[in-house]
């Protein structure tokens, strides 16, 4: 196969960009009461956390509130952070909880992530076309960002959130299962569903010959 090498379990992107070497030192300083250190951590992760809460809640005001509450909660509970996971992973879990609370409130409790969802009979899609020139080259960065958030927003929350944690935030399958109170097989089947559905919907924009 000539496709680019991809290994979602060992991302090359995240560690270099997100987990900077000074993270443990900053966390340690913040724990010891260094406000500046905590603010540095917030500034480092606010964009990613806001994208996360937006993708989950699909509501700007809820996303802002959930992000704010997540950072405040993280600050209050810094003492509980043991350092046996990455700080970012710990922060993501707090933010997911805050965002899910908002989503459930707005949807009158109809969103239950752990209930059985019909993941359907998986069949190999047939109407396939090559994606030709690389979408990253074809669209401007902001335009591409709009397409990506629109398409993920169309997914059912049960699938959207699993994809968000596994493939965007790069949590492991086990971490995702734990954060959402799901079994590992449930995470795996929802993730595949989400990936295939996103692929299908992105096809509209990225297939060779699609009008931009």
């Amino acid at each position: 196969m000539n496709s680019p090498k991809l290994n979602p379990t060992q991302p090359t992107f995240l560690p270099s960009h997100v987990v900077k070497d000074d993270e443990p030192a900053l966390v340690g300083a913040a724990k010891a009461g260094d406000i500046q250190a905590f603010e540095t951590l917030v500034s480092r992760y606010e964009r990613k956390i806001f994208r996360l809460t937006q993708n989950i809640t699909q509501n700007r005001e809820d996303a802002e509130d959930a992000m704010q509450e997540a950072f405040l909660k993280a600050y209050e509970h810094l003492g509980d952070f043991q350092g046996n996971s990455r700080f970012y992973t710990w922060l993501v879990r707090i933010a997911v909880n805050q965002a899910l609370m908002k989503l459930r409130r707005r949807r009158n409790n109809i969103v239950s992530l752990d209930e059985e969802v019909d993941t359907g009979e998986d069949t190999m899609p047939r109407e396939v076309e090559d994606w030709g020139p690389s979408p990253e080259e074809r669209y401007q960065q902001s335009e591409l960002g709009d397409i990506l958030s629109k398409v993920i927003g169309e997914l059912d929350p049960a699938f959207r959130i699993v994809f968000q944690l596994r493939d965007i935030e790069q949590l492991s399958t086990e971490e995702t299962a734990e954060a959402l109170g799901l079994s590992v097989p449930a995470v795996k089947s929802r993730l595949l569903r989400a990936r295939l559905k996103l692929r299908h919907n992105l096809n509209h924009y990225f297939r060779r010959g699609a009008t931009t």
Binding site: N7, R51, Y75, D130, W131, D167, K188, R199
Partner: protein, 78 residues
């Protein structure tokens, strides 16, 4: 291996969580079957595009709101 077997193993294949013989038979099928190959390639691209996408900067007023709230909490405790 048939097309319908590929989709069964696709989740683990994408996560590189398969033993080498199963992986080899999937790749053998992908070498022969253009439809499956395109699905696998564009699904990988989907994951890659999302994984590599940079989050947009916070809208200015959102950032002000956040940092005001933090400053209030952080600087006002004894």
């Amino acid at each position: 291996m048939k097309c319908k077997d590929i989709v069964k193993e696709l989740a683990d294949y994408l996560d590189e969580d398969l033993d080498s013989s199963l992986r080899a038979s999937i790749e053998e099928h992908l070498g022969k079957c253009k439809d499956c190959r395109l699905v696998v390639d564009t699904t990988k691209q989907t994951i890659q595009i999302y994984c590599n996408s940079e989050p947009a900067p916070l809208p200015a007023e959102t950032r002000v709101k956040l940092h005001d709230a933090l400053a209030k909490r952080l600087h006002h405790q004894v």
